[in-house]
């Protein structure tokens, strides 16, 4: 072994140590809020406030119990809220993948008049903050026709307020998702379509059998990027849902902010509602990283 190669190995090892040290430090910084949240969820309010400012805030020491978790279940119908959020999120993401990918397909693969204009309009909507259109949207959804169950009969009525579909349908079409699908589909060779057309395939078959199977990373990215906003919906359900049994988990957060905020219960509740997100992300970590890398999107 020469001196040069020895020195090189030492340098490489040092570099590795530094890089792992830096990464560990970053991991600790990013983990601190989560650790604080979980640890605080086990402490009474007085101890949470007393421990702030000291390392004890991050340690499960002192008067530790699950009382805050019991308090959460006493204060809010947590199971119901969780069910609602899961239902709303799954359907929003699921329908969103179908609708947005189809729109992206039409915009990237099919030739029709006004295509560029439509794509520009879709992209233009990205710069309009949701908050600015929220109140007009409330007005419009309150006028939309719907079917309601009354006495076992399906009846025709107006107004989408206070329902599941008012929390799902407006968010199925997503400008960013359409743009992303459009861009990704554009990278798939058009000769595949032409070959399929010669073989007699219609556009839906080309979408379903050829383009969609080749766009796995785009589907994964859109699924992940639309999952979080759907799960975190707060303002919209607040405005359109009055019935407690239809509220999602994020609205439930407000239940704890009374004149005296129950900080321990806040931490327990946030721990509980963060858990599903953590599970989803940890389960699909590899798919997430690879899809983001493949589609060139960063959050």
């Amino acid at each position: 072994m020469t001196t040069d190669s020895l020195t090189e190995r030492v340098v490489l090892r040092r570099r590795k140590v530094w890089s792992y040290t830096a990464m560990s430090a970053l991991a600790v910084i990013f983990l601190f809020p989560l650790v604080f949240m979980v640890v605080s969820s086990l402490k009474p309010d007085s101890q949470i406030l007393a421990d702030i400012g000291s390392p004890q805030a991050f340690l499960p020491v002192g008067d530790i119990s699950l009382d805050n978790y019991f308090g959460v279940f006493d204060r809010v119908p947590f199971g119901r809220f969780l069910f609602n959020s899961v239902l709303i999120t799954v359907l929003t993401v699921g329908f969103g993948l179908i609708v947005n990918s189809m729109a992206g397909f039409a915009l990237s693969r099919m030739r029709w008049r006004g295509r560029s204009l439509v794509l520009s309009l879709v992209i233009a909507t990205l710069i309009v903050p949701f908050e600015t259109v929220a109140v007009p949207m409330v007005y419009w959804v309150s006028k939309l026709p719907t079917l309601v169950m009354e006495g076992g009969m399906v009846k025709y009525d107006f107004g989408w307020l206070n329902s599941y579909h008012v929390q799902i349908v407006p968010f199925i079409a997503n400008a960013f998702a359409i743009f992303l699908f459009t861009q990704y589909f554009s990278t798939i060779p058009k000769s595949l379509d032409e070959a399929a057309r010669i073989d007699g395939a219609n556009w839906f078959t080309i979408y379903r059998r050829i383009v969609a199977p080749l766009a796995g990373p785009a589907f994964a990215t859109v699924a992940i990027l639309t999952f979080l906003p759907a799960w975190n919906q707060y303002l919209w359900p607040l405005m359109v849902v009055q019935q407690e049994s239809l509220r999602p988990v994020m609205v439930g957060m407000q239940y704890f902010f009374q004149l005296n905020t129950a900080w321990g219960e806040v931490m327990a509740y946030t721990s509980l509602i963060t858990l599903p997100i953590l599970i989803v992300f940890l389960s699909f970590q590899r798919a997430f990283v690879s899809s983001v890398a493949a589609s060139g999107v960063k959050g």
Binding site: G159, Q242, Q254
Partner: protein, 426 residues
């Protein structure tokens, strides 16, 4: 997945979801049955308050056959947004509770109608528990809250500080001297003034101090300008003191929301509300003093006006709504609210029956403070703008902005808003 299965999934999901749709909030006439009266409250997550509402509603529904009250509870932090959205969609409930200062704005916006309760009921309530706009009563509440200075008797005695009374509160000089003495005695920050909080607290807590000093949020004679009230010499003097309190370290904006610093004896005095009294009684016991705020010049003042009930302008059974409200203003229910919530009962009869607020109750001082010193925030639709402008100006001053120019800016902002809304009906 073929096209047919895709269409099937979409159709079934759509039908399932639409099946979960609900009719609007407008009151429902159930044919020959009782008319349904919807009622919204801000009390979700507050089991003590909800328990009393459930009791009142059950008693009312059982007491007659004409009306059926059904309630929906919202979390407080989200409540006003829900009301505004419902109003935009013409979907307001029949009965709704409102924070006192917002009542004139919602009356002006047409959300609520004049209350029309028997005057014998509204006359029996604390003046700050009744919401008035343009001489019409629009809301009435079962209770009010009050602010006070919390202190330990032992601490004041040890430092030779006079214990103030409602008849002889601390003058501003005495208050300053007490804070200075307590700081010298080892309290780094002797007063928890609550400046770490945000939102309506700032107007509720600090605008009464401004009024005590001789200023105000707006000229209450006309309700058309803040000129002279919010930026007059009295207001400048008060805010100079306010900024000085932070500069000298008498108060801080870096604590935790709540009364924990006082309970753990990190601060000697706490400017806080009745809602924190039970925790402080538990922590401090008989040593706890509930004191009037200092007199900044024209007598002590504290904020008044809390959650009150109104009837929406779109309510199709206003008589039923009034019948419910009149039923609910029985002393027994008001006492239950007061004791469950630890808030000041709105009637003297309910106060006497209360565990905490009767003549010998441990929290009786709050009743006296409310009766003697409570001042309503200006009863104008401009209040939401006034409040947010006041908060921003006061925070800027706390952080070192020039007092005079900051107040002038706040006045200009308020006046512009009032002008652009044609005086809000004044």
């Amino acid at each position: 997945m073929n096209r047919r299965s895709l269409v099937t999934i979409v159709s079934v999901s759509a039908l399932t979801l639409t099946g979960c749709g609900q009719a609007g909030q407008g009151d429902v006439d159930n044919g020959d049955g009782p008319a349904e009266i919807t009622m919204w409250t801000h009390s979700a997550g507050n089991p003590g308050e909800l328990e009393v509402y459930e009791q009142i509603i059950a008693d009312f529904n059982a007491s007659q056959d004409d009306y059926q009250v059904v309630t929906e509870a919202f979390p407080q932090g989200a409540y006003n947004d829900a009301i505004v959205a419902a109003a935009a969609a013409n979907d307001l409930p029949c009965l709704l509770d409102m924070d006192g200062p917002i009542v004139p704005n919602w009356a002006w916006a047409g959300y609520v109608q004049p209350l029309g309760l028997d005057p014998a009921i509204t006359d029996s309530l604390l003046p700050t528990a009744v919401g008035i706009y343009q001489d019409e009563v629009y809301s009435a509440g079962y209770w009010d809250a009050a602010l006070a200075i919390f202190a330990r008797q032992s601490v004041l005695d040890d430092n030779g500080i006079r214990i103030p009374t409602v008849d002889e509160p601390w003058s501003l000089d005495e208050f300053d001297e007490a804070l200075s003495t307590l700081q010298d005695a080892g309290y780094d920050t002797p007063l928890d003034i609550g400046a770490e909080d945000a939102g309506e607290w700032w107007s509720y807590a600090y605008s009464p101090m401004l009024q005590s000093a001789g200023g105000d949020l707006i000229d209450r004679d006309t309700m058309l300008t803040a000129e002279g009230a919010l930026n007059g010499p009295e207001a400048v003097d008060f805010f100079t003191w306010f900024a000085g309190a932070f500069e000298q370290g008498w108060a801080s904006d870096s604590g935790t929301i709540g009364n924990e610093e006082f309970n753990s004896d990190e601060v000697a005095l706490s400017y806080t509300g009745v809602w924190n009294a039970m925790d402080s009684l538990d922590a401090v016991g008989d040593d706890l003093l509930i004191l009037p705020p200092p007199d900044f010049g024209t007598g002590p003042a504290i904020g008044g006006g809390s959650w009150q009930w109104g009837i929406s302008s779109t309510c199709s059974s206003p008589d039923g709504a009034r019948a419910y409200l009149e039923f609910s203003f029985a002393d027994e229910y008001i006492t239950e609210f007061a004791d469950n919530q630890v808030v000041i009962p709105a009637t003297e009869g309910a106060a006497e029956a209360s565990e905490h607020f009767s003549s010998d109750g441990d929290l009786r001082p709050f009743v006296e403070l409310s009766q003697r010193f409570a001042v309503l925030r200006p009863e104008t639709p401009a209040y939401p703008v006034i409040s947010s402008t006041f908060e921003k100006a006061a925070k800027d001053i706390m952080n070192g902005a020039d007092v005079g120019s900051t107040l002038d800016g706040a006045v200009a902002e308020i006046d512009t808003n009032i002008e652009s809304n044609d005086g809000y009906g004044f």
